[in-house]
């Protein structure tokens, strides 16, 4: 059969649009990953703590979002749930992680993983194991047209929201006292305290800040994926790969790696569904073999 030239054009355009929307899907998932991973990466960069409970705090935020949205709405959840997570994060750092930190990495990994397991059990006992749905707020439901296709408004919201947060992070680090102190303490925390700054307090606040970001990610992801106990592993693993891939402690590395993993995930599922989950890991192994410090990092 002969396809008329005009139709040939539309088919090609159609394919292009599918690839384009897949691309936006990938980017929006990548940006959520970035929100989830950035706190993990920054906490490692400043405090040398690999917090394995980070992904579980992220999951807890999604459950908080579910419950808060039930009695109020999504926007209140977006405000309150991350703050609650930040408070929990600060308490964990202050009373559990800080006392263990001087004893080295292994006890700390065991402790933070243990905290994660406890959070998981708490979630299961309060909310059960069924999949819960959080609806996007009404103003973000529906689709906007992109060419022939309609694209979910909520995904566009995620992209815009995360970019605003990213710009906010940049400003925080460049322009505020807190940001200056954090940058200085990342390279030489002893010197910072010798200048009269209470570094342990900065650490606790910063831990809260990193977990606040995980909380934001958890709330934003809730309407996108269903809320269930497997969320921590599902997104947490990707977030972990992002942090390692981007270079532990490197924010820009985490950003680039997030987008990469997001795109790989969506295009991968389209093109070769069965091996898609392997792609991320293969990429990580490949990058680490070539450059053990990650794409942008300087630590192993």
């Amino acid at each position: 059969m002969k396809i008329p030239p005009s139709d040939r054009g539309t088919i090609m355009e159609g394919t292009a649009f599918i690839l384009l929307t897949q691309g936006i899907h990938g980017i929006s998932y990548g940006l959520v990953l970035f929100l989830a991973a950035s706190g993990l990466s920054m906490i490692f960069g400043l405090m040398d703590i690999l917090n394995l409970s980070h992904a579980y705090l992220f999951m807890l935020a999604a459950y908080f979002a579910f419950s808060i949205a039930q009695v109020t709405n999504f926007w209140v959840a977006l405000l309150l749930a991350p703050l609650a997570i930040a408070c929990i994060g600060m308490l964990l750092e202050r009373y559990l992680i800080k006392p263990v930190h001087p004893f080295g990495h292994t006890p700390e990994l065991v402790l933070t993983l243990g905290i994660g397991m406890v959070l998981l059990e708490v979630v299961k006992s309060i909310w059960g194991t069924t999949m819960l749905t959080v609806m996007p707020p009404e103003s973000l439901q529906g689709f906007i047209p992109i060419g022939y296709l309609k694209y979910p408004v909520y995904r566009i919201f995620i992209i815009v929201f995360t970019i605003i947060i990213l710009c906010g992070l940049h400003q925080l680090f460049r322009r505020t006292r807190f940001g200056t102190i954090v940058r200085a303490a990342t390279v030489n925390s002893d010197m910072v305290s010798a200048l009269g700054i209470n570094v342990p307090r900065i650490y606790t606040l910063f831990f809260g800040f990193g977990t606040w970001l995980a909380g934001l990610a958890g709330v934003v992801v809730a309407p996108l994926l269903s809320v269930h106990p497997g969320l921590a592993d599902q997104v947490g693993l990707d977030a972990f790969v992002v942090v390692v891939l981007g270079g532990l402690g490197s924010l820009w590395g985490a950003f680039v790696a997030s987008i990469l993993i997001g795109l790989l995930n969506t295009y991968g599922i389209q093109l070769i569904p069965t091996v898609a989950p392997l792609i991320t890991f293969s990429l990580m192994v490949l990058v680490l073999t070539v450059k053990p410090t990650g794409l942008f990092g300087d630590r192993q």
Partner: protein, 237 residues
């Protein structure tokens, strides 16, 4: 006396790095602490600063006990620290480094007029043009000046300075020396650790000499100059 250190003992694991160190500094005085490599001069400053916790002994500053306090409390009490190797924040600009010196200090009742960016720029004119430059891009001498200026921004009444002339050319060494003399004229006392004997005796009125982990000699500069055998016992290699 402004600072009175008594029977300070500090350990690195099993190594007894400071053994009953006692020294004192009067208000407005420059005192030098000299000795060969590895005797414990830097450890003495770090112990006073609380960066390494002394195991026992007392550190009285204006009558208040500082031993056992964390470094930020000691800095807030009015002690400025200019460490070995300068330790400027290379990833911060000159101006950000200076601001770091001021942010944590609430108690601003220091000797002499308060230090501000403007006054720092008057004393260190090279910083005006370079204020937006990352500190890792300036020369060693400039980093030394920045480290001193950063400590001054906290309006300390006592500065602990560790080998400010190390690795600098003779001209720059004299510049650093003159800056320290200027600062001292403004009422800041100085505990100076130095390998450069000339700089030390130019600035200080009193000298402490360290042997291994202990203080072996204490007297005026005049006395030390008159006894070359003491110099050779503690300083020459």
């Amino acid at each position: 006396m402004q600072l009175v250190v008594k029977d300070l003992n500090t350990f690195y694991g099993a190594i007894h790095a400071l053994q009953n160190i006692s020294l004192s500094i009067a208000e407005g005085e420059i005192v030098a602490l000299l000795g060969r490599n590895g005797m414990g001069k830097s450890t003495t400053l770090k112990s006073i600063m609380g960066i390494i916790k002394p195991r026992s002994g007392s550190i009285q500053f204006n009558g208040n006990e500082l031993a056992g306090l964390p470094p930020h409390k000691i800095a807030q009490a009015g002690i400025g620290y200019v460490p070995e190797d300068r330790q400027v924040f290379g990833n911060l600009t000159i101006e950000e480094n200076l601001m770091m010196g001021q942010m944590g200090i609430k108690n601003k009742n220091a000797a002499g007029p308060k230090w501000t960016l403007d006054r720092i720029y008057e004393h260190f004119p090279f910083m005006v043009k370079k204020h937006g430059l990352k500190a890792r891009f300036i020369s060693g001498g400039e980093q030394q000046m920045l480290s001193i200026a950063r400590a001054l921004m906290g309006n300390p009444s006592l500065l602990l300075i560790d080998e400010p002339s190390e690795g600098l050319s003779p001209i720059i060494v004299n510049e650093v020396r003159d800056i320290l003399a200027e600062i001292n004229k403004e009422g800041v006392s100085v505990l100076l650790v130095e390998h450069n004997y000339k700089v030390a005796v130019y600035l200080a009125k009193r000298i402490y000499l360290m042997g291994k982990a202990h203080i072996g000699y204490e007297n005026s500069v005049g006395h030390l100059e008159a006894h070359p055998e003491i110099r050779s016992q503690f300083l020459e290699v």
